[in-house]
Symmetry: none
Subunit: 225 residues, 4 copies
DNA sequence: CATGAATGAGGTTTCATTCAT
DNA sequence: GATGAATGAAACCTCATTCAT
């Protein structure tokens, strides 16, 4: 049995910690495999990626993949899970115990998301989920429940903080959340899809404009700032 | 030509309406096939879609596909092109000769895009291009040059109109364009990808919020409105 | 590199003889496959031969063919090339350093061709080339340039040797070459095509008659033998 | 039922003669079809030839072929039969009632074969039979029995005529027949197979050399000519 | 642990054959 | 008679999966 044979058993290995010598190598190897797999899945899609290519990019033989993953699907699942776990932790910690104006918090959240998620390997997971949602409904559901819901919940708390403090004017919070997130997700999609057309976006300037427009749109102009 | 050959020509071709039934079918076939193909490509991706399924959904046999398209790839290309041509026309005509405030124009453009493109079959093309960009670089380039560039150009003219009239405050126009477009594209992606999670978006409310935030963010507050 | 990684390298690669069984199989496979393919191509023609049949005759699965040959066409090419290379060597060596009467040399060449080429697996290549010449013009050209031209050149030297020594009477050498070769090629064709009709030829008697008629036809009767 | 649905019913239509008006067109058409089919079968082989191509070359639609032939195989059979019938008649009549030296008769037969069979459309049939013999054993058998056997019988009578008159020396008649025929058959094969290599043969010179060598080889030198 | 040769189910593609017009 | 759109069986080819080494 490979360590990634099931979708459910996340967070289990991080606790074990012992069985160092023998186990370390076995644990270390899969991340090289999932890393190679992620790149290719993002590039060519799940069905369009051959295990030969993944093995080649990871520098192992095709058979080796089956030492760690029961099937191509299990590898896909592992790729997503590996990209989700740190994303969860990273996103949550930025909000906790923030002091200062909500507009600044929003800025921290947006820019932080880019630096810690969007621009990293995990950005590819976003595109992957979008592309393969219908082929892997459980995985999509999992991603939705554990990443999207929690991310939206985080943003909702931020917006409500601004509303309660009187910084922000009234709005439809649920819609606003999606509208605020959209440019973030599109940024990674943009970079993974249209990069080949020569039309590339400068993330910092793009995010700054997004933030600027957003804050001006959210602020309650009737108040004295 | 034999002078007696006339008998052969009488009742075979002259009655033009005769083969109309068949003809109508043959003319309609390609778009029936691309329609079925688009749905499945969007749902399962290019590599994940079987020609059997496309044929079955279109109600024809597998071999019939090859009467109209040389290969699966040619079918893909046709699907995209068929979705692009009307998109081009639709996008351009909304801007021409608009009178009134630029903020209203912007609203017309955003909502109009949804009604005429995003919510229609062509919305699927957006997701398809995003998913398959690396597998079909030429198609992606084509889409970029003919749809994205022209759509951005349209939006640029709108923003500059607002800047010149003094309605809008200063901004980085290029970034703003992408930021404005992002929620539109994400709306279709959202509907094609996460609809299966029970989390669906109400397009009108979403777009209204987008527009509202955007206008507040763009307006020059220093001016008397 | 970890200083403890040495254990991993001990008993995996160093014992060179270990994978000999497998290796021997892999090395032998291509010629096993081409041998099976040749038989069937000769029998049924290129288009009429199914890869399943070739695989079955070679005792492997269909997929295995593609481990060694990129396509059916590549397999065909390999079949021909494999039959040509030894033919080249065999043909050339029969002439080199022959002492004695030219008529005897001619006899050696004709009978030798049959024993070393015509009656062997390479005889099938002749029929194959003839049948598929228009479908594989490059292969045909290759065969022409490397086998036919050299074979004719060999025969030309033999005839000229006879002319110079005064053994043979005057003739149109170029035509004579083709006339001499024809019964050889027809012999293999005969055996591959009309063997099924019950009408089979005895090669030795046939060749002896060919040689006999030929020598009598070539000799200069005016001379004292 | 098409007139060519069975292999056995040859020579039946030539006797009918009536039913002129209606029937004439129906009878005339197939020869255009078989002519087109012969060319392509010779060029690409039976399995390698598509009915579309035959129809296109004959200038009719694909469905029309099925008005005259039950299947692709029936068309193949008809092609051969059409090429055989006149070949039989032509070959036989050259021998009947010939006066003069047997060597001259032989020359007439060889050159006549080329002019009336080898160089005509029927030459292609030879190559076709050779290529497809295993795929169509009955057709091959038919060709063997009706053409080869009769042709060999003709040649046998010629050789025996020469032996009885004392013109020719002793030989193994059966082998000689095949050796004499071989250059003829190879001539057509040569022209159908290696014509694409730029190496073409001049039939007249080739046949002249064949005849010359042959006669010298056959003649009884001990006799006074 | 790791390999990579071998497999065979399943995909794309072709094409002989049919049949409504 | 003639057509050519439609079919589906069967071909070529791919690739996830297995297993002897």
């Amino acid at each position: 049995m490979s360590p990634h044979s099931s979708t459910a058993d996340i967070d289990t290995e991080s606790v074990t910690g012992e069985r160092s010598q023998r186990r370390r190598r076995k644990d270390a190897r899969p991340s090289e495999l999932t890393a190679a797999a992620l790149e290719l899945f993002v590039e060519k899609g799940f069905a369009g990626t051959r295990l030969d290519d993944i093995a080649a990019r990871a520098g192992v033989s095709k058979g080796t993949l089956y030492l760690y993953f029961d099937s191509k699907e299990a590898l896909f699942t592992a790729v997503i899970e590996e990209g989700i776990v740190p994303a969860l932790a990273a996103a949550e910690q930025q909000f906790a115990g923030y002091q200062g104006r909500t507009s600044d918090l929003l800025r921290v959240l947006l820019l932080g998301w880019w630096q810690q998620i969007g621009s990293t390997r995990m950005g590819g997971v976003v595109k992957l989920i979008i592309s393969e949602s219908h082929n892997f409904p459980e995985v999509t559901q999992y991603y939705h429940d554990h990443v999207i819901v929690r991310g939206r919940s985080l943003l909702r708390r931020a917006l409500q903080r601004g509303l309660e403090s009187g910084e922000f004017r009234q709005m439809d919070v649920d819609s606003a959340i999606d509208v605020i997130i959209a440019p973030l997700l599109m940024l990674v999609i943009w970079r993974y899809s249209f990069c080949i057309c020569g039309h590339d976006i400068e993330p910092e300037k793009y995010l700054e404009t997004h933030f600027d427009l957003l804050i001006q749109g959210l602020l309650d102009k009737g108040r004295v700032q």
